[in-house]
Amino acid sequence: MEHNLICIGCPLGCMMKVEVEEGQITTITGNTCKRGEAYAIKEVTSPTRLVTSTVKVEGGNLSMVSVKTKTDIPKNKIFDVMKSLQGISVKAPVHIGDVIISNAADTGVDIIATKQVKSVNL
């Protein structure tokens, strides 16, 4: 199988071709440097992404708090992780690093807050 990738290592944006036969990478072409090769291997074998979103806050000085997966998660789990955030709300106060959901969508990765929200007395 052939994968076409654009390297994101630098503005050059090399167009790379990765040949995979029986689950093994056979050739990588189009890259200009070693970083491109490493990126291609990662993207073809186990692509990962950091996911960021927001959840509702109750009783806070702000109505939403931004969150992220603490580390990268497998790319094919992005929508499962987003689904796990549906309908979630948290109570103020919220601090950076607070765990919002632990082990989101069975990725083994927590979703944590990336912003501070103070509580306000209504």
Binding site: I8, P11, L50, T54, S63, S66, M82
Partner: protein, 429 residues
């Protein structure tokens, strides 16, 4: 009217204003006031919830709010004063700031130095000349970003994006993750102004097509957007007949450029550059009005916040030095008579910041930031001191979307006492 006195007033509490305040304090000036019109410090970083910030500054990858928090904490720890929900209405050339908020009404502040850190605005539909009605459902990408990330509202369900600036790309992904269908991103240029990383991770990852050399020629809908027609454009930007394609959608996002917000700067009488739309500045990031400094996106639009912080720190330091000179009552006339070198951008280089250098006021090393006007491969960035080439640096690629820089050393410049201009250009060999 209430009268306040401060050494430095900083207009804007975003990344530029915060970094400038922290550095000015380090330089020994204590009476500093940051004025912010929003309800919190941090500026636009608060709505940039994605990651990718801080790689240069903190050597780790942060989200926008996390990056802002680090500077906000330092400002609070050091008891730097700030006023929220406060709008600067006017600044005179004598540095009297008129501001207002709902608690104090209108008040005046006398300042010894001013730092302009107001950031930029998005180019709006009005600047684009798209014919048609004015239905609901047309948003600038940044406005949509604020609705989704700060207010918690989705602007629509079926989206077309015009322009491939980074905010547009980021919003394509964000709205997709929240369940919207982003049908296409149309870019009138032959290349995208956005970062490669964003094209891959915000469009390709989700199968969103990017149509280069395409633009919106018609918006359908009277009360609400019902659809848009996109057509290919020729080299002059004119739509090519017969290439029209219709997309049904309820939302059109515009990500078509940013413009430094200089209304207040104009009131002061600060000279603006036609190219950057920001103030022209010298090596100290001081504008044409002595004691008024500028940094961040109000000076020129940046791609990376790390460089905003770095630039703002320099402005903060220089504003503090200026205040100390004024306090010692030193004659500033000497400074006005100083030898000034012009920086000339040419041959593919659109602008430089700063635009002038006074060698005597330089730091040991001075960064010159610049942008190129097109995508160029295998070029040299060259620096000429008058007619002599002093720097010749090979670059495999340069592009308008990526800010470039060169560093000039004070000792090198001082070797040329008669130097009148420094030219920065791209050369093929």
């Amino acid at each position: 009217m209430k009268q306040l006195i401060y050494d430095i007033v900083i207009v804007g509490g975003g990344p530029a204003g915060l970094a400038a305040a922290i550095e000015a304090l380090k330089e020994g000036v204590e009476r500093i006031l940051i004025i912010e019109r929003d309800r919190e410090l941090g500026g636009i970083l608060n709505q940039c919830i994605h990651n990718g910030f801080g790689l240069h500054t903190f050597k780790e990858e942060l989200t926008g709010p996390e990056y802002a928090q680090r500077f906000m904490e330092e400002v609070k720890e050091k008891h730097i004063e700030y006023k929220l929900n406060t709008m600067v209405m006017d600044i005179t050339p004598n540095k009297v700031v008129t501001a207002m908020n709902t608690l104090e009404g209108m008040f005046e502040i006398e300042a010894k130095a001013i730092i302009l850190a107001m950031g930029c605005r998005e180019r709006s539909r009005g600047a684009l000349n798209i014919p048609g009605y004015r239905p609901a459902g047309i948003f600038s990408a940044g406005t949509a970003q604020r609705f989704v990330n700060i207010e918690g509202y989705m602007p629509g369900r079926e989206v077309v994006i015009l322009g491939s600036g980074d905010i547009g790309l980021i919003m394509a992904r964000r709205m997709t993750l929240e369940g919207a269908k982003v049908k296409v991103v149309a870019e009138i240029m032959q290349y995208s102004g956005g970062l490669k990383r964003n094209i891959v991770q915000c469009l390709d990852d989700y199968g969103i097509p990017l149509k280069l050399s395409h633009t919106v020629v018609e918006i359908k809908g009277k009360e609400r957007v019902e659809g848009v027609t996109i057509a290919e454009v020729d080299k002059t930007g004119k739509p090519i007949e017969g290439t029209e394609e219709y997309y049904t959608c309820d939302t059109l996002l515009l990500s078509v450029g940013l413009i430094p917000e200089n209304e207040v700067s104009k009131q002061i009488g600060v000279e603006l550059s036609n190219v950057t739309s920001g103030p022209t500045v010298n090596e100290s990031l001081e504008t044409s009005v002595p004691g008024v400094f500028a940094c961040g996106n109000v000076l020129h639009v940046h791609d990376l916040v790390d460089f905003v912080s770095e630039e703002a720190a320099q402005a903060g330091k220089n504003a503090a030095k200026y205040v100390k000179r004024v306090q010692k009552d030193l004659n500033t006339l000497d400074e006005e008579l100083m030898h000034e070198i012009l920086l000339i951008p040419t041959q593919g280089v659109r602008y430089t910041v700063p635009q002038t250098i006074r060698p005597e006021c330089m730091e040991e090393e001075q960064v010159i930031r610049f942008r190129v006007g097109d995508v160029y491969r295998n070029r040299y960035v060259s620096v000429y001191f008058d007619n002599e080439r002093v720097l010749h640096k090979k670059r495999p690629i340069v592009a308008p979307g990526e800010m470039e820089n060169v560093y000039l050393k004070k000792e090198d410049i001082l070797k040329y006492p008669e130097l009148s201009q420094i030219t920065i250009k791209l050369e093929e060999d």
